[in-house]
Structures are given as structure tokens and as C-alpha cells.
Symmetry: C2
Subunit: 496 residues, 2 copies
């Protein structure tokens, strides 16, 4: 059994149940698990660990690629398994524990976790749990629908547990390109110069002697949970497309644009969807995750190559992807997240970065993570890796939330993830503000008039006028700067 | 005359007075001027432009490397010459105009201005004004004590005015390494893999046909204005050195450390000065500016190579440097600022970044630029280029300012330049907080107890406790978060 999945016969005696493998874990360990935007996460071990934690104290530091599927993060959090969690999550139950101060959450740029492990700025990985399609004759791991930090975990962990997922077709082999930068000092340039280029191996090199257990699973990834486009996301998409057309007209890029990055979520997905039928052709993507829209754009022929660290699809699109896997494998490369998000490569390629803001302020600072300035939503993810280093950094948001009670454009964001230095363009359903080359006092009127919801413009204008009377490069009325957030908290509306 | 300085005879007839050259400028033009941290700035043209502006309307967009010397920025600002100014300044008179909203100041990461010019995200340069030691037979420019953005300006400007500075010794030739990244898409990796490596030419390649004027000057750079170490900066230095020793003990680096970057200013200079006699040897620097302390460290033999974009020295040290220029030229490389600060290189080398904070908050966010959250001091400079991408990012500050009325550790910074994601270590004269791998709720007690001035610790603890009752990943009492700044404004003290 499993000979096509475990091609190194000596490893067959490592096959065991998840319950047996769970006995390898000890209280206080640091664990690295595969999984990035619900793709390629370990399916069996989280549940087996939850089961173990019912009977004995077991608190772990859990590092992943990004978010897990299958409610694993929530189940582990509620079982008290998670003492520390990094670098990203997107689970309602875990979020509650984080915001209650019961789980220490370290919110990191997704390109940096591997670097911090390599430089020993983080505690070493005791056990890596990695989902794989197969183990090769050399003992190498063929990943499934994400690479994330799996190659780094496998390189560094003392022990490795492999989950062979029978639902992942063997045809995934060849989709991945595994390259790990060298140690510092003495590191060479990363030789990647175009999105489709392959610079590594198709499987993750590991020392087979460190494989402690092999667990067999057959559960699919959790499907994508993005919402379909609506009139507002369609309006945002049309503003972005008109802007990109003007960039082409101005000679700043060709109709192939520059490699596109789009953050996970409904709005970014809608913008990419909106590119179907646009005047752009021979486009490429250099992103961290591919959603339905990327596959649709590939199918349209307008997108010709896509690089990412994971693929997260709806059930229908997943089925189509697996049916045509041979064709997609020629157009898609999945890389470790430190490469998909690497500042060196993002800057070299001149990526167009498209990410979602929770809120922005009238000077162009962006909050991507903290609801009301204090409560974690998901984490910064890769947005900073791309926004800082790309040629163009766009942030998109609907202009209001909570039935108009929250304005996404505020006098001062209550938490800053991206500073004015790293935000080129802001877009809501009302319009687009091109902030390049503008001073803060020039940015404010543009953001207010182009992006804010009309119901909030008078209030924003009044704030800005009053602030300018106080003077400064970035005028503020400090005692009122966060009053909108306080007003919403106390009265469920930012309207004054 | 000047045959050794202007080695292409056909250019001799371009020699003219600064007054004549000033006639080339037209109202509304974009001008690129050499100059970085008071080094290598054009000396004659700013004054000639100020003179012209007395008689006729002349408003310019001025782009430089970084700060200028000789009060040029202030004189130009007061003459009404500056409509727009980027990417950095450090002049009291210009600062007043900026904060009054009379000069539009675009505060940029110093690595990014050249990239934005190249991608036409900024208006093109009409005239470049570049100080040079000499013009070679090929018409190439040998820079003086900085490179800054000069190579980029020269490459892109329609017309070039060269200031030949006779006070710059010809022996500076060979100090510089000029490399400009290619266009995107299609850019190759930057081949720099160690601080001392040379990857370009020793002079700036230009098309001699675009040389519109050559002006002869003989004025030295403005000397460095850093203050000597005091007991507080010495305490900061000792904390940093103890921390680096512990990094070596933990095996995270060798006694050669990793390449050091130190921001301009008194505290960073004092920390580097403190490294003399430390247990580290064979050190290298990969920084944007070299101050007196870097030369002292080279003299001590502990520092063996230094890379930067400029050299800014005290008069005494300047004299010594010029006397021993042949020896220093073998150990120092001056590069364009997009290379000295490039994310690709800073990440590859694993730089130790040491920069100054105006204030930080209890969660590790840093304000480097805005006094009271609104009024520009100098600009973000290169701090973000290094802090984001280095292996270690340290921010240093004295714990109080204004005779104790201002605490550098506050509940919430009133302006964010560096987010918690990019700040590894905070240091004041009281101690050092190592924030790596810690969640915000873990960072706060450490920052309060290690870094805050004792007079402010009780207040900070009370804020944090009250904030934690509200919950969240990053707890805050929003209505009180900026109250310390308001209290100082109204009563000249943050003490409650």
C-alpha cells in the first residue's frame, strides 16, 4: 500500500496513526506546521493533538505558513493547545483567544518568519508537521497545494511528521519550486528574475533519518470562503483598471503590466476577476496566493504565468483545477513564502501590489489588522512585503462598514501597519486617490473627495481644516484624532 | 586652468559663473541636486538661485540625496524658491516653512527616490546640479564626499550643471563605486555580496552633450554637527554592546558581527564610538553615512571595511581623513544611495541596523519624524530601508527630552514610521528591551521596565493595566492614548 506515495521503502515502517504520532509532542515544544491560506495544511495532527490535550497539559508554540483550514486553529485554541501562535491566522475562535490575551500572537511579515528561524531569532522548531503528496525515492517531500514555510521547517526541525494526503493527486508533482536562501554572511543573490522561472527543486530536500512518523489522510483542503463580487467591489475593480490603463497610456508600463500581487479576500479577488476582458494581455502574477480569479484569468489567456506560495479555490474551481492540472502545472509555480514574498524579488520585478485595508487615514496611513485599533482581525500577512517593495502599492477597501456606522477613511488610523511612505494609491467604490509624489497636506483633500463615503466627507473636511490651523507637516487635532473610533464604540456610529 | 579637473577639453567652454548658469532655470522646473548628510552638496548654485529669486518668480521642486549643508536649504526656503522638496532635509528654516504648509515636503525612504524617478512615478528631472571633484576624459563625473542620487540625476536630467569643487582633492578619485540597477521588467540581481565589493565604475557615466554649465567653487562641506558623547549616550552604547556580546555568545553571529548600519546623529555616533575597545574585531559597515566614529573605528583596526553613500566629519577628522586619504580609499566605498540602502542588499547581508527614535510606544512602534505627532523634524531618511530588511533592527533614544517634560516611551506614538513588525530592540540609557518573538502584551512590560524613565513608569504601568481591561491584541484606552502629547502641549510636561 501507498508505494506510489512513499517511494522509499525503508520509510514504510514509520507509518502510524495520528494518535501514535501525537505522542511525540511534549509540553512547551515549538511546532512548525504546513498550511498557507487554508491550503496544504496538516489535517490529522491538529485533531490528534486536540484529543491529547483533553487528557494532559500540552501547550505549544505553533508556527505555520499562514492561516489553516478545517477549523484547526480554532479547535486547537479552544483545547488550550496554543500558547503562542505566529505568523498569521484567520480563525474566529483563535481570534477571540488572542484578543482575550490567552494566546500570544506574533503578527509577522510573511517573508520574515523563515529568516528569523534561520538566524535563530526565534526558538528552534522541535517538530515539523508537513502535508505531502508523496515522499520520493530520496526521501524528499512533494508538497500539496501550498509550500509556505514547509521547506524551512523541514530543514530545521529535529523531528518531522509527514501527512500523506491521498486526496492530493500525484499530478501535483512538478508544480513546486523549492529554493532556500543561504546563511548570512556569505549569501548569494537569489537568481529569480521573472515570475515563471524555476530556480530550485520540485520537492523539499530533507534528511530521511529525521522522519519520525508518516500519517495517512484523505481530507481535502477547506474551500475558499471569499464572497462573490458585488456592486461595490465591481466599482473598486473598475477604478483600479482605469488607473492601470492610465499607467499604460503614460508609458509607465506596457499592456502586459508588471507582475501582479493580490492579497487574499473578496475585494482583491473581485479586482482580479474584473481584469477579465480588460485591455491587458500577457499578464503575469507574482503573488502569495492564487484564488479563483487567478485561474479564471489564466483560462481567459490574458494571464500567462502565475507564481505564488499557495492555491485556495472554491469547490467548483478546485474540481476544474484538478481536472486540468497538467495544463495549469505549466503555468503555475508554487514557492516557499520567503521567496514568493521576498523583498529582493518584489523590488526587482517591480510588482503591482494590491491589498485590502481595514481603514486608512486622510494622510494615507493604513491599518490592515486591528479592529478599533486594538482587536486583531487576521494579521499583516504579506501585505507589507509587497506594499513596501513593489513599484506600485494599492490599498482597496469599501468606504464604510457596519451599515455605514464605520467609515474606512478616518482622521487618524488607530493602528498603523503601512505608513504613508508605503502607500501609493487608495481605492474605494467611490474612487481612487493617486498619492504618488504628494505631501500629506495634498493627500488629505484627494483622499476625502475621491475615497470617503459622501456621508463622511463634511466631517473629514472639518477635521482637516481644523487640523491645518494647528500647523505641521501632518496636521492633526490630537485630542480629536481618535474620537471617531471612540464614538463608534460608544454609539455604534462614527457619524457626529 | 583646471586641466586636471576638466579633462575633456571640449567642455572648457562650458565654464561659466553660477549667475550665468542660474539663468538656465525656469519657474516650475524639477531640479536634482547632489548632497547627502551635508556632504558633497552643490555650493554655488543654491546661492545663485536665491539671488535670482530676489528679482523674479522662481519656484522649484528640489530633489536631493538627503540633507544639504551651508544653510542652502534654509536660504532657498526663505527666498521662496522651494515649492516642493524631497526626500529629506535637516534645516531649521526649511522645517518652519514645511510645518507652516508653505513648502510641500515628501518624506521618502532614501532608497526609493531613484526608483520612483526611474519608473516615472515622479516628474522627470529638468536640471541636475552635481558637485564633482573632476570630469574625466570621457566626460564622466568623479563625485566628492557623497554619491547620493547624483548618478540617477545625471542619468535622467535633460541638462546637467557641474560644480567642480577645487577644495576636493583629486585623490578622492577611486573612492566611489557607481552602479545603477536596470529597468523593470528584466532587471538582473544586484551582484553585491559583501560590503567592500566594487560592482560599478569609479565615476558617473553621463552624456557630455547634456552638460550645460560648469561652475568652479572652492568651499568645503559643512562640518558634522553631532554632539560629543555624554553619560546617557555612553549608557546607551554600553547596553548595545552588551546585547551584541550576548548575540555572539548565543552563536547568532561571530565576533565580526554582521555589517553595521548607524543612522546620522549624536546617539548613533556615540554607540559606534563605544565599539572602540569592545571585544569585536574584523567588523564591517554597510551604512548610508560615515561619521567621525566610523573613521575612529577604522583607525582602531576593529573596523576593516566601510560602505556608505556619504562621509560627514568634524573639521579635525576631515583634516585627518584628507591627509590619509590613500589609506582610507582602500577601506571605504561610497555608493549611490539606492545601493547603500537597497532592501535587496540589506537583507542579503543581514545588516545590524541602529537608528534613532524620537519616541516609541509600549508596543514597540516608533516615531522617527514628527514632533508631537504633527511637526516634521528631518524625515524618515534611510531608517526604514535598514530597519525593515536587516537581521537586527535596534532603535535608540534618550528616555526623556525637554528637561524630563517629554517621555520617549508613550502609550501610543502620535505618528508611526516603523511598526512593531520592524522593531526588534529598543534602547535608552536605562536599558534594553529585546522584543524578538514577543506579542504586544509581552512587549509592554519589558519596554516600560527596561527603557522608560523611572519618573514615567508608574503612569505607563497604569495605562497598560487599564488598557488590558479593555482587551485586544494591542490593548489601548483609545480616548487616553494620545493624552500624554496633549498634556505636554498644554502644560509642558507629560507627567500627570
Amino acid at each position: 500500500m501507498y508505494q506510489d506515495r512513499i517511494r522509499r521503502p525503508a520509510l514504510m515502517d514509520k507509518v502510524m496513526s495520528a494518535q501514535q504520532a501525537a505522542l511525540l509532542f511534549k509540553d512547551g515544544m515549538t511546532v512548525g506546521m504546513s498550511g498557507f491560506t487554508r491550503a496544504g495544511d496538516a489535517k490529522a495532527m491538529p485533531l490528534a493533538l486536540v484529543e491529547r490535550a483533553r487528557h494532559e497539559p500540552l501547550r505549544l508554540t505553533l508556527i505555520t505558513g499562514a492561516s489553516l483550514g478545517n477549523d484547526s486553529d480554532g479547535l486547537m485554541a479552544e483545547a488550550g493547545l496554543l500558547a503562542r501562535r505566529l505568523p498569521f491566522q484567520a480563525d474566529a475562535a483563535l481570534r477571540r483567544k488572542i484578543n482575550a490575551g490567552e494566546v500570544m500572537f506574533i503578527d509577522q511579515h510573511l517573508s520574515e518568519t523563515a529568516e528569523q528561524l534561520r538566524s535563530h531569532s526565534l526558538a528552534p522548531i522541535d517538530i515539523a508537521v508537513i502535508e505531502a503528496t508523496a515522499i520520493t525515492e530520496d526521501g524528499f517531500l512533494v508538497p500539496t497545494m501550498s509550500v509556505g514555510n514547509s521547506a524551512n521547517f523541514a530543514q530545521q526541525a529535529r523531528q518531522i511528521i509527514i501527512e500523506i494526503n491521498l486526496s492530493a493527486p500525484l499530478a501535483l508533482e512538478g508544480l513546486h519550486d523549492i529554493f532556500i536562501p543561504g546563511e548570512r554572511p556569505g549569501r548569494a543573490p537569489i537568481p529569480l528574475v521573472s515570475p515563471e522561472q524555476r530556480i530550485g527543486t520540485t520537492a523539499i530536500a530533507i534528511d530521511p533519518a529525521r522522519i519520525a512518523a508518516i500519517v495517512i489522510t484523505d481530507s481535502p483542503d477547506s474551500p475558499s470562503n471569499v464572497l462573490p463580487p458585488d456592486s461595490e467591489t465591481e466599482a473598486i475593480a473598475s477604478h483600479v483598471i482605469a488607473f492601470l490603463e492610465s499607467e499604460v497610456s503614460a508609458g509607465r508600463m506596457t499592456p502586459a503590466l508588471l507582475p501582479l500581487q493580490a492579497g487574499i479576500g473578496t475585494i482583491a479577488n473581485a479586482v482580479l476577476h474584473g481584469l477579465i476582458g480588460s485591455p491587458f494581455s500577457n499578464m503575469t502574477m507574482f503573488s502569495e496566493v492564487l484564488q479563483d480569479s487567478a485561474i479564471e484569468l489564466l483560462d481567459s489567456g490574458q494571464l500567462i504565468q502565475a507564481s505564488a506560495s499557495s492555491i485556495t479555490l472554491s469547490p467548483t474551481m478546485h474540481e476544474k483545477f484538478m481536472r486540468d492540472i497538467d495544463s495549469y502545472r505549466a503555468k503555475i509555480v508554487l514557492r516557499p513564502q520567503e521567496i514568493s514574498n521576498h523583498p529582493e524579488i518584489v523590488r526587482r520585478l517591480g510588482v503591482i501590489a494590491l491589498n485590502t485595508a481595514l481603514e486608512c487615514d486622510i494622510y494615507g496611513n493604513v491599518n490592515s489588522t486591528h479592529v478599533g485599533g486594538t482587536h486583531m482581525m487576521n494579521g499583516i500577512g504579506g501585505s507589507g512585503d509587497f506594499a513596501r517593495n513593489g513599484q506600485l502599492s494599492l490599498f482597496v477597501s469599501k468606504s464604510v462598514a457596519k451599515a455605514g456606522g464605520i467609515s474606512s477613511v478616518v482622521p487618524m488610523v488607530a493602528h498603523v501597519d503601512h505608513t504613508e511612505h508605503d502607500v501609493d494609491v487608495l481605492v474605494t467604490e467611490w474612487g481612487l486617490a493617486d498619492l504618488r509624489g504628494l505631501a500629506p497636506r495634498e493627500r488629505a483633500p484627494l483622499i476625502i473627495e475621491r475615497c470617503a463615503h459622501p456621508d463622511y466627507r463634511t466631517q473629514l473636511r472639518a477635521y482637516f481644516e481644523q487640523a491645518c490651523l494647528r500647523g505641521g507637516q501632518t496636521p492633526h487635532v490630537l485630542e480629536a484624532a481618535l474620537s471617531w473610533h471612540v464614538r463608534y464604540r460608544d454609539g455604534q456610529s462614527m457619524l457626529s
